[in-house]
Amino acid sequence: MAFGTQAEALGSLGLLNAWFTIPAEIELEGWYLMYNAPRGRVISIRPGRFPSEQKAALSVRSTESFERCDIDSQIDLLESHFADAGWEAARLLRAARAAPDFYLDSIGQVRLDRWSQGRVVLLGDAGYRPSPLTGLGTSLALVGATYWPASSQLRLRR
């Protein structure tokens, strides 16, 4: 609230991305597999924390809105994009409905002119989320967490 609305701060990259855990049904041998299909579709599967599971992601170029609390309609939306995408798409769409941790979100970057207001300061993704396309969210948060105390203590200790 101190920094405006979410719509003002979040610059959309025009991508929807879903992440979820699936049973390990294909052999990855430590590899991260990515598959591109035309019309802006990307499917990826990578190893999970345990040998029995893998982590899947479905990305699509879209600015469509979706119901935050309605997972079935979110998966319906993905089906409309990925039904003919090929590779593991059909299996992943089925697995998405059974996944305990399915999550869909739009991809964007937080861009603000200032990261402080009054006695409030923003660190990490709240102030400068870079997006999965660039990575570095954790790195920037750690740099910020280092610089902010260093910046503040120099004067406040007097």
Binding site: P38, V42, L133, L140
Partner: protein
């Protein structure tokens, strides 16, 4: 009053130090979203060559990684590595290269 002023100074110092890192970290890879998820078949095909070049350049400077050209219509492969790319490398190339390498070019890291 003095504390307020000190806080303002601290905020300014924090922002001036952080801003270059953030601008660098938020810089999208060449092609932006189109490079990651091309819309058209033509862009998809053309992008693959660019992706290969970018991936080759990116991985060449990373942990002894190299690009291994694969066959079309296969998913890209990126072996997980225990090494952490540097801030500069990850923001400029490494992480993006893994996303851009598309469905043609497996990227293998020799660091494993």
């Amino acid at each position: 009053m003095r504390e307020e002023s000190a806080l303002d100074d601290a905020f300014d110092r924090y922002e001036s130090r952080m801003r270059p890192y953030v601008e660098q970290g938020q810089e999208l890879p060449p092609g932006g979203t189109d490079g990651y998820a091309p819309r058209s078949q033509a862009a998809h095909s053309a992008g693959l060559d660019l992706n290969a070049l970018v991936a080759a350049v990116a991985t060449a400077s990373l942990d002894g990684a190299h690009l291994q050209q694969g066959r079309r219509h296969q998913p890209a492969q990126l072996r997980q590595t225990s090494r952490q790319p540097s801030l500069r490398t990850q923001g400029g190339a490494c992480c993006n290269a893994t996303l851009r390498c598309g469905c043609v070019y497996p990227v293998r890291s020799e660091s494993d």
